[in-house]
C-alpha cells in the first residue's frame, strides 16, 4: 500500500519545458504546488565540453536517445516499429538540458490547417490567444533574436540581439537573397549576452564549449529556481505510476515511487501532466480503473494516437574554402520559411522550414552524424576527413507532420521499467505527403547550398535519429468525441486533470515546438488560477 501524503492544491508531473513554466506561474499565486520529476537535478558543470572526451559523452552518457544513454532515470522506449527514434532527457529541466534552443513560433495559419487547407484539424485556440504568453516566455527563457521577420507577424522586442551569423551563416543569407528567398536570423533561447544571472555566450568558442552549453536556457534555471523562491516544492527521482480517481471518476491524486522503491499516494486537488508526448499517454494508459478501463481521459480513444514527430531530411554541402564552419551554435542560426505554406502546384499539402546546421566536432564529422555517412575507413580516411572537416554545412528540412491515427503510443503489457511501470511502444510511419514534402525540401536545400558556393551536396531523406519533438497524443479540441483536452488543456473526461506538454498539439506546424508548448503551459496556468 502506498504511503498517504497530506493534500496539496496542485501536483505537476514533469519539470521540463512545460512543467517548469506552469510551476512558476502557479507558484506566484501562493497555492501549494508540488512538482514531481523522475530525474534528478542536473549540475551544469556536467555538460560535456572543454574536455577532449566531450564527443564520447555525446555519443554515450549524454546521448539524445534514452535507449542509448540508459541512465538510471531513463525508461526504455520500444521503438523498433517507428521510422523515427524518440529523444528526451530526464532531469529537473527535462529536455531543455539537451536541445539547440532553436525557438521559432507557430504561424497564425498553423492553428487553422483544416479551414485553410482542408486537412487535419483546426485548433480551438489561435495564435493571438497565445501571443502574450509567447512574449512572456521569451522574457523568462531569454530570447536572442530580432524583430521584423516578414514571414511572421510582428512581435515584441527580443530581449537580446541575435547570435552571430558566422561566415557560413552570412554565405547562406546572401545566397537566399540572390534567390529571392526568405531568410531570417533564428530566434534562440541561447543567451547572446549575460541575462538574468545566466552566462552569455561571448561570441567566441565552438559547440564544444561548456560556456556555450551554459548559455542555453533550461527551465531548472529560468523557471523552477524562481518558483522555489515562491514556495514550489520539487521532489526528484519520483516516477509517477498512475493518476488516481475515486469510484465516481473524481480525481484524487497521483501514485508515485521514489528511487528507493517507496510508493506514495499524493492527494491533490488538481493534477497537471507535463511528461511529453510519450510520457503523458504512458501514464494515462497505465491509469486504468473500473470506471476508466481503457485508461484515463480516453473516452475518445485518442490517448496515444496521432503521434507527430516533425520528420527531418537534410542536405549537406561541401565547400572548398579553408574556413571555420564549426564555430558557433550548431543549429539555431538562420531559418528559411519560403516554402512554409501550401502551394496547390506541389504534390503535398502544408510545408516546411529550413534550418542551417553547422559542421560539428572532429569525431562527429568522422562519424557523419545526421547529414552524412561516416568518413570511410582505410587508406582514404584522412583525405576524406580533411575534405569534410570545417568545410561543410547542412540545411535541415523540418516538415509539418500531419496527424494520423495509426501513428501512436501504446504501453507494453509485459515489459516494464525498474519501477514496474509498463514501457511505451511506438508505432510510426512517415506518410506519402511527408515524403513528397521532404523531397521538395531537399531539392530546394540543394539549390540554396549550390548558390552559396558548395561544390558537392549529399542527401539524407529522413533523419531517423531526430525524434526531438513529441506531439499530438492527447489532442486539444472542443468536442469530447474527437479530442482529449479542451482549449484550457483540462481533460474532457476528468475534471481538474490537465495536460500541458506537446501531447495536446492538434497539429504540428513546421517549426520547433518548445515556445508553443511553454506558451500553452503559461496560458493553462492562467486558466487554472482564474478558476
Amino acid at each position: 500500500m502506498p504511503k498517504n501524503l497530506p493534500f496539496v492544491d496542485i501536483v505537476i508531473v514533469g519539470s521540463g519545458a512545460s512543467g517548469g513554466a506552469c510551476a512558476w506561474k502557479l507558484s506566484e499565486s501562493g497555492a501549494k504546488v508540488v512538482l514531481l520529476e523522475q530525474g534528478d537535478w542536473f549540475d551544469q558543470n556536467d555538460y560535456p565540453g572543454d574536455t577532449n572526451d566531450w564527443e564520447i559523452k555525446q555519443k554515450n552518457s549524454f546521448h539524445f536517445n534514452p535507449n542509448v544513454r540508459n541512465l538510471s532515470n531513463d525508461y526504455e522506449i520500444l521503438d523498433k516499429n517507428s521510422d523515427i527514434h524518440p529523444l528526451m532527457y530526464n532531469a529537473v529541466g527535462g529536455s531543455t538540458h539537451h536541445w539547440t534552443a532553436h525557438t521559432p513560433r507557430f504561424h497564425p495559419s498553423d492553428f487553422r490547417v483544416n479551414s485553410l487547407d482542408g486537412v487535419a484539424f483546426d485548433w480551438p485556440i489561435s495564435y493571438w490567444d497565445l501571443e502574450k504568453y509567447y512574449d512572456l516566455n521569451d522574457i523568462m527563457m531569454g530570447c536572442s533574436g530580432i524583430n521584423g521577420d516578414p514571414a511572421n507577424p510582428p512581435r515584441s522586442e527580443r530581449p537580446m540581439p541575435p547570435l552571430p551569423l558566422g561566415d557560413d551563416g552570412k554565405k547562406i543569407a546572401e545566397a537566399a537573397d540572390r534567390l529571392g528567398w526568405h531568410w531570417w536570423p533564428s530566434d534562440s533561447y541561447q543567451a547572446s549576452e549575460d541575462y538574468k544571472g545566466r552566462v552569455g555566450w561571448n561570441n567566441h568558442g565552438t559547440f564544444a564549449s561548456k560556456k556555450q552549453w551554459q548559455s542555453v536556457a533550461s527551465t531548472d534555471v529560468t523557471y523552477i529556481k524562481p518558483a522555489i523562491e515562491n514556495g514550489l516544492e520539487v521532489r526528484t527521482n519520483c516516477a509517477v505510476q498512475n493518476i488516481s480517481v475515486d469510484n465516481t471518476g473524481k480525481l484524487t491524486g497521483v501514485i508515485y515511487v521514489d528511487n528507493r522503491g517507496n510508493q506514495f499516494f499524493q492527494e491533490a486537488g488538481k493534477v497537471i501532466l507535463a511528461c511529453n508526448g510519450i510520457g503523458t499517454p504512458r501514464i494515462l494508459l497505465n491509469s486504468k480503473s473500473k470506471i476508466f478501463p481503457d485508461g484515463l481521459a480516453n473516452s475518445s480513444g485518442l490517448v496515444g494516437k496521432n503521434l507527430m514527430f516533425h520528420p527531418y531530411a537534410s542536405v549537406n554541402g561541401y565547400f572548398n574554402e579553408d574556413v571555420n564552419y564549426s564555430l558557433g551554435p550548431l543549429a539555431n542560426i538562420i531559418i528559411v520559411q519560403e516554402f512554409y505554406e501550401t502551394d496547390p502546384n506541389r504534390n503535398f499539402v502544408r510545408g516546411y522550414s529550413f534550418q542551417m546546421a553547422r559542421s560539428n566536432g572532429p569525431a562527429h564529422t568522422a562519424l557523419g552524424t545526421g547529414n552524412t555517412n561516416n568518413v570511410i575507413w582505410g587508406k582514404e580516411h584522412h583525405n576524406e576527413f580533411k575534405r569534410r572537416f570545417k568545410k561543410s554545412l547542412g540545411m535541415a528540412i523540418i516538415s509539418e507532420d500531419l496527424p494520423e491515427l495509426h501513428n501512436r503510443v501504446e504501453i507494453d503489457e509485459l515489459k516494464t521499467d525498474k519501477n514496474g511501470i509498463p514501457l511505451p511502444k511506438i508505432f510510426y510511419k512517415t506518410s506519402e505527403n511527408t515524403r513528397n514534402l521532404l523531397n521538395h525540401g531537399m531539392k530546394s536545400a540543394e539549390k540554396l547550398l549550390l548558390e552559396a558556393g558548395s561544390y558537392e551536396v549529399n542527401h539524407n531523406p529522413l533523419l531517423q535519429t531526430a525524434g526531438w519533438h513529441l506531439m499530438g497524443t492527447a489532442k486539444m479540441g472542443e468536442d469530447p468525441v474527437n479530442s482529449v483536452v479542451n482549449s484550457n488543456c483540462e481533460t474532457h473526461d476528468v475534471k481538474n486533470l490537465y495536460i500541458i506538454d506537446g501531447s495536446v498539439f492538434t497539429t504540428s506546424a513546421a517549426v520547433n515546438p518548445t515556445p508553443t508548448i511553454q506558451a500553452i503551459a503559461l496560458r493553462t496556468a492562467d486558466a487554472i488560477l482564474r478558476s
Partner: protein, 148 residues
C-alpha cells in the same frame, strides 16, 4: 562486459586498418592507448553486444581458424575480414568504427594536427557580433505570412 585480454588485443590489432597512418597523421594505435579502448567499452553498455558479435565474427573466419588463429592474421587478412564484417554485420561494424573514431578524434595530438582548438578565447575562435546591415535586402520584402 566479459572480454578477455587476448580478445582486446585481437580487436586492437585491427585499428590500424581502420585508420592507417598518412604523411602527416598517425595511425590509430599510435594515438589510441589500449587502455582507452578497454575503458570505453567497459563504461558504455551499448557496445557490448556488437563487440561480442565482432569477436565471434573474427574468430570464425576461415583465415582466423587456420595457422596461428586470429592473433597471427596478416594486415591484408585483417583488411579483408573488416570488409566482410562491414557487409555481413554492418550495424556491429559501425559500432567498431564509432569506437575507433571517437577515441582517435578525442586525442589532443590529433586535435593539434587537424587544427581543432576548443579554447573559446583563442583568436581563431572569435566570431563577429551580429550586424543587422545584412538584413537590408530581406527587410525590403513585404510581410507575407498567411492571415488566419
Amino acid at each position: 562486459m566479459s572480454i578477455s585480454n587476448n580478445e582486446i588485443d585481437i580487436l586492437y590489432s585491427f585499428f590500424d586498418q581502420i585508420i592507417p597512418s598518412s604523411d602527416d597523421m598517425p595511425c590509430a594505435t599510435e594515438a589510441i592507448d589500449k587502455k582507452d579502448f578497454e575503458i570505453l567499452i567497459s563504461e558504455n553498455s551499448k557496445y557490448e553486444i556488437s563487440i561480442d558479435q565482432i569477436i565471434y565474427f573474427i574468430k570464425r573466419e576461415p583465415t582466423s581458424r587456420v595457422g596461428g588463429g586470429a592473433s597471427s592474421l596478416s594486415e591484408i587478412q585483417k583488411g579483408e575480414i573488416l570488409e566482410l564484417m562491414e557487409s555481413i554485420i554492418p550495424d556491429d561494424f559501425l559500432m567498431l568504427i564509432e569506437i575507433v573514431y571517437l577515441l582517435y578524434y578525442s586525442k589532443s595530438e590529433i586535435h593539434e594536427k587537424i587544427g581543432w582548438n576548443t579554447d573559446e578565447l583563442a583568436e581563431e575562435n572569435k566570431m563577429e557580433a551580429f550586424d543587422d546591415s545584412i538584413l537590408n535586402n530581406i527587410k525590403k520584402r513585404e510581410p507575407f505570412w498567411r492571415k488566419a
